[in-house]
Subunit: 551 residues, 2 copies
Amino acid sequence: MSPNTLRVIPLGGLGEIGRNMMLYEYGEDMIAVDVGVMFPEEEMLGVDLVIPDISYIMDHPGRLKAVFLTHGHEDHIGALPFLLREVQVPVYCTRLTRGLVDVKLKEHRLQAASDIRVVEVGGSIEVGAFNVEFFSVSHSIPDAAGLLIHTPLGTVVHTGDFKIDHTPVMGQHTDLQRLAEIGREGALLLAMDSTYIEVEGFTPSEQIVADALERVIADATGRVIVTTFASLISRVQIVIDAAEKHGRRVFVTGRSMVNNVQMARDLGYLRVPDGIMMNARELDTYPSAKTIVICTGSQGEPTAALTRISNGTHQNITIHADDTVVLSSNPVPGNETLVYRNIDNLYKAGAHVIYNRLAPVHVRGHAAQEELKIIHRIVRPKHFIGIHGEYRHLVLHRQLAITLGMAPEDAVVLTDGDIMEIDEHGARITGHIPADYIYVDGLGVGDVDQIVLRDRLHLASDGMVVVVVALDREHGDLLRPPEVMSHGFVGLEEEAAVIEGIRERVTQIVGGEHQHVDWTGIRDALKNEVASYVYAQTKRRPLVLPITVEV
Amino acid sequence: MSPNTLRVIPLGGLGEIGRNMMLYEYGEDMIAVDVGVMFPEEEMLGVDLVIPDISYIMDHPGRLKAVFLTHGHEDHIGALPFLLREVQVPVYCTRLTRGLVDVKLKEHRLQAASDIRVVEVGGSIEVGAFNVEFFSVSHSIPDAAGLLIHTPLGTVVHTGDFKIDHTPVMGQHTDLQRLAEIGREGALLLAMDSTYIEVEGFTPSEQIVADALERVIADATGRVIVTTFASLISRVQIVIDAAEKHGRRVFVTGRSMVNNVQMARDLGYLRVPDGIMMNARELDTYPSAKTIVICTGSQGEPTAALTRISNGTHQNITIHADDTVVLSSNPVPGNETLVYRNIDNLYKAGAHVIYNRLAPVHVRGHAAQEELKIIHRIVRPKHFIGIHGEYRHLVLHRQLAITLGMAPEDAVVLTDGDIMEIDEHGARITGHIPADYIYVDGLGVGDVDQIVLRDRLHLASDGMVVVVVALDREHGDLLRPPEVMSHGFVGLEEEAAVIEGIRERVTQIVGGEHQHVDWTGIRDALKNEVASYVYAQTKRRPLVLPITVEV
């Protein structure tokens, strides 16, 4: 690497690129931007979380100087404990992000050992060759920031997740002024959110949601139950404001909602009028027509409050015919079935349900095409990369940049692990670092691999059959009738016949004619014969596990 | 049941109501409308298909007189073989639907024994107390029909899946004239498609897609590859017409696309100019800029043509930089990951990709709100039920009917298995028949039940551990070191340590102190101890299978 070179490396993702982590390197100095988790895909059976591969950081001890967090969403901070367990570096973030990080570190018992430092928006931090400045952006969580990473080669504008909202409910604008200033000075690289590149026009303002929610609450004759993302503090503020205006009191339920509301109150991000909150005992006796419930479960999570409310198992809340339930959220792809199952159950219980297809009770947190164009225009960078999006989003975002006048060679599409080097001659991809997915399952980090997942998929689709034979050590004779067990294979009724068939087949296979008992051969024969018998009978391929006991 | 009563029973569904089958009964006469399959949800591991419960039909032998099919989509005809295997009744449908049914019955070796009769649109069939008339509707497959079921009590309008398209590409309109006539005479019941009740306005015409696809093909400098649903014959016609216009030849690939194109040609539904089709050998030598490929894979199905093309494993087609790939389809919910993975891979291979978020290359096959209102207005039924939709859709559709002036008691929401009775006094739900889901897995119908699925979920999430101990028959002494095996549990590296730990634990549990050997007790102890040891070590709960061999 030539000395005067900036290296840019996206990590994380699961299809999305650089969503969870970005590395910037200059000389022997490295900083990481965000350290988030990915949520497992369907075929990653039993996996709880997926985290970025940090082996490149581990292979270069001492090079990583600091971590910068743009905002407090899980896909940007969730893997921090796994990194901090391995390397001790300071972490810089805004105040609310710190609040959320603290909760996480406490859970992992890492709080004492960690060094988390709050930076105000507008403030900047000197780390080795870098000077990193936080600038304000609008997003679906307060205190979100983009980063201006000043390097000896020029300034990198790293937007993080953002949208442009001219009437945000909690007052946080995307700082177009500062970006324009950087643009005038000449930006080296723009690394921009690409999540909603496919969406034309502008993302509507949070104020639209405020108006819609207020109208729902004004019109409701009975109780109103609102669910949203626990981190979407502005949405909670909207509901509390409407409650105050319409003389209702508020009950909060669901662990993460209770925790986040408390934390946002403590840190001053949530304005809660005195006496408006109530506890479970008050909820029982207070008139429903004067009650608003704010709860978790916007994604249909099986144990979240709204799911328990909708299937009648919530400890405090039973649906009545005059209840209005508002889902102030969109289902994340993959969660549709769970979300719509809740909605159907709420309708069946008699509630009136309002969700995003029926009224504008939710807006996205990411910039659409016209907003992205504005940033391109005012930053006017020398180089551009799309971040936070799947491959096609980055291709489309590059096309947009070219449409806006950028030279094709200056707009680069990276995939996770790609090393892009920028120097005075330009930008190019010069190599690739390991960027595997690390699966977290239970307590284990990285102990589930592709083979384990393949076995699980096999077990999941056809179940398994275990065949136990006790054999004479000398001649391989069957000493007792074979034992056959199955799990997840066929139902009880059909099982008996198939298992009897397997027993007969096994008894035929293991005869006494062996001179030298070939145990591996017997096991292979059992496995193959049983598998093909089962397939012929049922067209299924359960995992067949032959167990020979030599006596 | 009073003699002069019509009974209406929706079946099938998986969340959707009456999507796959509807029963209409009058006295001792029963007809079934559609006999379709459902596709399994995520948690139905290893299940291939789900079919409606026909036990009510089986419990009343001789009552079912005939089956009527509205159109040839899988969710309306796919379960027919399972029904015809049990009962011999005539099946009435339009010509193209019959073509698709024949293919299916041939696969199930039921063609000779079945009695499938073609009815022209406008024609009608007398079956017991019913006279069933087919009327033309627009939908995303040719020859789709709604049914006018004339009964002694009045006429039922059963729309089937439909939309209103004033400029359909293959000339099939929804017959508003005939519906208006029925409305003037006075309709008893309107049973209407509710799939897109949440969508405002009108579903765009297929002509919009024709224009968009033609523009794409006109503008493309290289090869064009188009994927769509194999049954969407009008879309195939659009591509063939555009090919002719722009002097390109057409290669068709993917089994179901090849079969459907052939069948639609044979039956005269597809106009194919002479010499426009080419085979794989011609494809190799013909100029790409003069080639169009039509293929399967619009839903990202793992073995479909487009998936193989996109991951570089198709036998004839390798992506080049000047290829344009068009996905003339929308991902069905649940398939998004697979579809977008293909798109990402096509972009990575250098293709230009056009899909529905970027250009109007697909329209829905179902009516939106304004179209539904038109049908309500011209049919002006005495009673209304929504069909083909999830519970919330039916609630919203009922609300729409009430908004349009219907009395609340005349607009009914049914769920699968509900019996609605209509007589001169009105309509009401009077009972419920079994409406379970029957799982089809491999060759087995109904042999996979909830317990099997639960076991599969368990195996899928944490894998399994098998412990085999050979014990002395008299004292329960351990005769040899225990054998421990795992599948889908943890990776090889970590496995060794955990398995060694299990071995030690097992050795401690089975001691020689037993006077009377309690085999069940030993197995329970092994299971519990191993499970809790494994959980403490790994926070995972694999299925633990203790096997004791008494010697």
